[in-house]
C-alpha cells in the first residue's frame, strides 16, 4: 500500500472492479470489470441509464454499500487519494467521508436533517473534521454560503431546510460538500430533482467552485446534456461495464461505441420534429452499427384542423390553504390563474413550466378531479361540468409515474380494460379479447395479459397506462409528464408510440412537460406557464426559438443542450 500522499497521482484510480450483490437466493452482478481514474481538479461524468451501475460505482468509492451483501472478487483495486479503500477499516473510512471526500445527493430535502437548522448541520461537519470552534465555524460557513451566490447567507444559515427552496437546499448541500476542502466530491444526480432554470445555476456553481478550489468531481447523471455542460471527461456505462470513455467533446461529438451512439440518437434534440427516434434496444439487438437501425421517416401526420376541441376561458383553480377553528376555509392559494387556451382537433399542444406553476392542477381540472373555481372550460362546445358520462370519458389522462398509476395486484387485462367495465359487465372473455387488441395497439405482447405490473419494465408499464387510456376511444389525451420518469431510450420509444397513435387515430394531445427538447419534438403549439398564468402561446418552433416573454427566454437559456455547448466552445 502506498503511503498516504495527495501531492501526486490521480485522486481516484479504479482498476478491474467487479461487484455483485448477494441476495437470499440469487447473486446479481452490478459491475463487471470497470476501470476509471480521476485526476486532481478534474470534473468527470459517469453516464448511464438506470441499472447501469453508475451509482454503485460511486457508493463503492466510499464503501457505503452494506459489506455483508456485497461481493468483490479478488484483483480489484479501488484507490482513493492513494489509499486502498477496499482494505480500509470503518474508522478510517469515516474520517475520509465528509472530510477529503464528500457527497452531494439527488434529493436535498432528504439529505438534510429536517429538524436541525442549517447552522447546526454545517457546524457539525466543520467541528468534526476541521476541529473548529463555534465562532470560526460560523464565519467559515457564512463565507461558504456566500460563495454559493446566496444573497442573504445569514438567513439561510439560520433556517430549517423546509424553509428553503429546492435550489437553495442544494446550494447548502454543495456548500457543505466543499466545507472541509475535499479533494473529491461525488455528486449523484445533483440536479435531477430541480427545475431547469435552477439546474443551470447549480451546475455552474458546482463547476466554478470545483475549478476555483481545484477539487475533483465525479458527476453521476443520466443526462448527456448535463455532462456536456460541465464535464471535462466522461465515462459511459452500460450494464455494469464502461463502454466508452474520453474527453466530453470527443465522446458526444464523435461517439465510437454503439450504445453511446444509440443513446445520443434517442435524444429528441436536434432531430426533425415528429420524426421517429431511434431506440437503444433496436440498436443493441442489431448488434452492428447504430445507423443500421430503422431510418427516420417523417410521419404522414394529418394536419391539425382548426376546429376547437377544447376551449379554456379564464379558468381559475384555487385550493383552500388556511382554515379557521371550525375547519372552514379562510385562505386560498391560486394554482391556475385566469388561464385561456384553445386546443384544436388533432393537434398537440404542450404546456411547459416549472414545478408548482399549475400545469398539473389544470390537467386535474380537465379530467374532473379538481373543481374549477372560476371561468369556463368547453369541450366540443359544451360546458365541461355539464357533460354526460360518455362524452366526459373522451378525455383521458396518462400519468407521470407508471409505478403508481397501475394497481400492483391487478393483471394486465384487468388494468387496461377497467374503464370498459363502467356501467356494464362484458365478461372476462370479452375483456381479455379487448385487452389483447389494446396490447397490439401499444406494442405489448398479446400473450402477456395475465401478467402483473411488477413483471413489466418502466417503459412497458407506461405502455399499459396508455392502453388503459385508449380503451374508451378517447379524443383528447392529457399526457402529464409521461416520459420524465423514464430513461432516455425508453422515452424515445414512448414518444414514437404517441406519435404513431396520433397519426393512426387522429388523437388530440395536451402534453404537459418541463422537458423542452421533448416538447419541441412532439408539439404543434406550445403554451408556457409561469406562476399560474400562461405567459406565452404560439407555434412550437416560434416560441421555443424566438421567445418573446422574459420568462420563456430565461427558461430557454437554462435548458442544457448539446448543441448550445458545442456552439459555445
Amino acid at each position: 500500500m502506498n503511503a498516504p500522499s495527495s501531492a501526486t497521482g490521480p485522486v481516484v484510480r479504479i482498476e478491474n472492479l467487479s461487484l455483485a450483490f448477494v441476495g437470499q437466493d440469487q447473486v446479481v452482478e452490478a459491475l463487471r470489470g470497470i476501470s476509471l481514474h480521476i485526476d486532481a481538479g478534474e470534473i468527470v461524468g459517469l453516464v448511464g441509464e438506470s441499472g447501469s451501475g453508475k451509482s454503485v460505482t460511486a457508493m463503492n468509492l466510499l464503501r457505503l454499500l452494506p459489506r455483508t451483501k456485497v461481493q468483490i472478487p479478488e484483483g480489484a483495486t479501488v484507490n482513493v487519494l492513494n489509499q486502498d479503500v477496499l482494505k480500509m477499516n470503518e474508522t478510517a473510512l469515516r474520517t475520509m467521508r465528509g472530510g477529503e471526500v464528500s457527497m452531494i445527493f439527488q434529493e436535498p430535502m432528504t439529505a438534510l436533517n429536517p429538524v436541525k437548522r442549517v447552522r447546526q448541520q454545517m457546524n457539525e461537519i466543520l467541528q468534526r473534521h476541521q476541529h473548529l470552534d463555534e465562532t470560526a465555524a460560523e464565519a467559515l460557513s457564512l463565507s461558504l454560503l456566500k460563495d454559493m451566490k446566496i444573497s442573504d447567507p445569514a438567513r439561510v444559515y439560520n433556517a430549517y431546510p423546509h424553509e428553503l427552496s429546492g435550489g437553495m437546499r442544494q446550494r447548502v448541500m454543495i456548500a457543505m460538500a466543499f466545507s472541509c476542502k475535499p479533494k473529491l466530491i461525488v455528486a449523484d444526480e445533483p440536479t435531477t430533482a430541480l427545475d431547469v432554470t435552477v439546474q443551470a445555476q447549480i451546475l455552474n456553481l458546482l463547476k466554478d467552485r470545483a475549478k476555483a478550489t481545484n477539487t475533483a468531481v465525479l458527476l453521476i447523471t443520466h443526462d448527456l446534456a448535463v455532462v456536456a455542460q460541465i464535464c471535462d471527461r466522461v465515462y459511459v456505462m452500460y450494464k455494469g461495464k464502461i463502454v466508452e470513455e474520453g474527453a466530453t467533446r470527443a465522446v458526444i461529438g464523435n461517439p465510437q461505441h454503439v450504445y453511446t451512439r444509440a443513446l445520443l440518437n434517442a435524444l429528441p434534440e436536434g432531430k426533425a420534429p415528429k420524426s421517429r427516434l431511434e431506440t437503444v434496444a433496436a440498436a443493441m439487438i442489431e448488434g452492428g452499427t447504430a445507423e443500421a437501425a430503422a431510418p427516420a421517416p417523417v410521419r404522414a401526420s394529418r394536419p391539425p384542423s382548426d376546429k376547437p376541441l377544447l376551449e379554456i376561458v379564464d379558468a381559475t383553480v384555487s385550493y383552500a390553504s388556511r382554515f379557521d377553528m371550525l375547519g372552514r376555509a379562510i385562505g386560498y392559494n391560486t394554482a391556475v390563474d385566469h388561464v385561456s387556451l384553445t386546443i384544436n382537433e388533432g393537434e398537440t399542444v404542450s404546456l411547459v413550466g416549472e414545478s408548482g406553476c399549475g400545469k398539473t392542477s389544470l390537467a386535474n381540472t380537465l379530467v374532473g378531479l379538481v373543481p374549477l373555481s372560476g371561468g369556463q372550460i368547453k369541450y366540443r362546445g359544451q360546458d365541461l361540468a355539464a357533460l354526460d358520462a360518455a362524452t366526459r370519458r373522451e378525455i383521458q389522462i396518462v400519468f407521470q409515474d407508471p409505478q403508481s398509476s397501475l394497481d400492483p395486484r391487478w393483471p394486465l387485462w384487468r388494468l387496461v380494460t377497467e374503464p370498459l367495465t363502467v356501467g356494464n359487465s362484458p365478461g372476462r372473455a370479452a375483456l381479455c379479447a379487448a385487452a389483447a387488441d389494446l396490447c397490439g395497439m401499444v406494442g405489448l405482447d398479446r400473450n402477456s395479459i395475465d401478467r402483473l405490473p411488477h413483471e413489466f419494465s418502466g417503459g412497458q408499464r407506461q405502455r399499459i397506462a396508455v392502453a388503459r387510456a385508449l380503451s374508451v376511444r378517447p379524443r383528447l389525451l392529457l399526457l402529464d409528464e409521461p416520459t420524465s420518469a423514464l430513461d432516455v431510450s425508453v422515452q424515445a420509444q414512448i414518444l414514437n408510440l404517441l406519435l404513431d397513435l396520433q397519426a393512426e387515430h387522429g388523437l388530440t394531445y395536451l402534453f404537459i412537460s418541463h422537458n423542452v427538447s421533448v416538447v419541441r419534438h412532439i408539439s404543434d403549439r406550445v403554451a408556457v406557464m409561469y406562476q399560474g398564468k400562461i405567459v406565452e402561446t404560439g407555434a412550437a418552433e416560434q416560441v421555443l426559438t424566438r421567445p418573446t416573454h422574459e420568462y420563456t427566454r430565461t427558461l430557454m437559456d437554462a435548458v442544457p443542450s448539446l448543441e448550445k455547448v458545442f456552439a459555445n466552445r
Binding site: 378531479l369 389522462i397 400519468f399 395486484r409 367495465t421 405482447d445 402477456s448 419494465s457
Partner: protein, 297 residues
C-alpha cells in the same frame, strides 16, 4: 415490441407462478409455528366437548387437589375436585368465541369508519376521527367494568362491550392506509374512467389494505383474549358457573401454594394463545412484506 424483454423465465406460465408464489412464501418460521398452534387451538375449541374426560362442573370431593396427571386427571383437579383439563376446554371455547366475535365486530366498525374517513374529507372524516379519539381517551377496562356491571354478566354483554369499545385501532390503520391508496394515480385513473366510489373501495382499496387488516386481526385477537381473561379474572366477565381461563386463574390464585397447577395451567394457556396470535401477526406481516417487495420493485 421494442422494449427490452424481461428475463425469459418471466414469460412462461406467469399466472401459475404467481399463484404458487403465495404458498412459496410460507417458508417463514413464525408462520409455520403459528399455523400449527392455531390449528391445535381451533380443534380443541371446536371438538373440545368430545375430549373432556370428566364433567367440568361436577366435582369429586374425594379427589380434591389431585396433582397433574394423577388418577386420570390430566391437568390435575381443583379445590372442589373438578377436572381442570375439562374445565380448560370449556373455557377455551368460551374465550375464543368471545374474542373472535368481538374482533369481527371491531373489524366491521373500525374499517367502515376508517374507509369513510379516508374517502370523504370534510364532516364525515371529522366525525369519524372525533369518535375514535373520544373512545381512545377512555380507560378501556374501567368502561368495560361499568358496562358489564350495568348490563349484567353473560356472553353477549361481554362480547358487545368489547366489540363496541375496542375498534379504534382498526379505524386508525384503515384510515392511514386507505388515505395513501386514495392518493395513488390508479385510483385517480379509475375515477376519471367513471368507476364509482363503492367499486373503487371494493376493487382497489380493500385488496390494498387486506394484508394490514390480517396482521391487526391477529394482534388484536391476542389483546381481546387478555381483556376477556382480565374481566373474567375480576369476576365481571363470564357468568358465575361458567369456567373460563380468567376465573379458573382467579380461583387458582387462592390455592397458589397448595396447588400451584391450578394457577399455572390457565396462566400458561393464556400465554401460549397470546403468543400464538402474536406470532401469527408477525408471520403475516413478514409474508406481506415479502410479497410487497416482489410487487413493488
Amino acid at each position: 415490441m421494442t422494449d427490452i424483454a424481461p428475463p425469459a423465465s418471466a414469460n412462461t406460465a406467469t399466472l401459475d407462478r404467481y399463484k404458487r408464489s403465495r404458498f412459496k412464501n410460507i417458508s417463514n418460521f413464525e408462520v409455520i409455528v403459528a399455523g400449527i398452534l392455531v390449528t391445535i387451538i381451533a380443534v380443541l375449541a371446536i371438538f373440545g366437548s368430545f375430549l373432556q374426560t370428566h364433567d367440568p362442573m361436577q366435582g369429586d370431593l374425594m379427589a380434591r387437589f389431585t396433582p397433574v396427571g394423577e388418577k386420570g386427571y390430566t391437568l390435575g383437579s381443583d379445590n372442589l375436585g373438578r377436572d381442570l383439563w375439562s374445565r380448560m376446554l370449556v373455557g377455551l371455547r368460551w374465550s375464543m368465541s368471545c374474542a373472535l366475535t368481538a374482533n369481527l365486530i371491531n373489524l366491521a366498525i373500525g374499517s367502515t369508519l376508517g374507509l369513510l374517513a379516508a374517502e370523504r374529507p370534510g364532516w364525515p372524516r371529522t366525525i369519524s376521527r372525533q369518535i375514535t379519539d373520544t373512545l381512545q381517551c377512555f380507560p378501556f377496562l374501567v368502561v368495560a367494568i361499568v358496562v358489564v356491571v350495568i348490563i349484567g354478566h353473560g356472553f353477549w354483554p361481554l362480547v358487545l362491550t368489547l366489540g363496541f369499545l375496542a375498534w379504534p385501532i382498526y379505524q386508525r390503520v384503515v384510515f392511514a392506509e386507505a388515505s395513501s391508496i386514495f392518493q395513488r394515480d390508479y385510483v385517480k385513473a379509475a375515477r376519471i374512467a367513471g368507476v364509482g366510489r363503492f367499486r373503487i373501495m371494493i376493487q382497489h382499496v380493500l385488496p390494498g389494505i387486506r394484508a394490514s387488516l390480517m396482521v391487526i386481526f391477529a394482534f388484536h385477537f391476542a389483546g381481546l383474549l387478555i381483556a376477556e381473561s382480565a374481566l373474567s379474572f375480576l369476576g365481571i366477565g363470564a357468568p358465575l358457573g361458567v369456567p373460563t381461563w380468567g376465573n379458573i386463574l382467579a380461583e387458582g390464585r387462592q390455592y397458589m401454594l397448595r396447588a400451584p397447577w391450578m394457577m399455572l395451567v390457565p396462566a400458561g394457556a393464556i400465554v401460549i394463545s397470546v403468543v400464538t396470535m402474536n406470532l401469527a401477526g408477525d408471520g403475516i406481516a413478514a409474508m406481506s412484506r415479502k410479497r410487497g417487495r416482489s410487487i413493488d420493485v
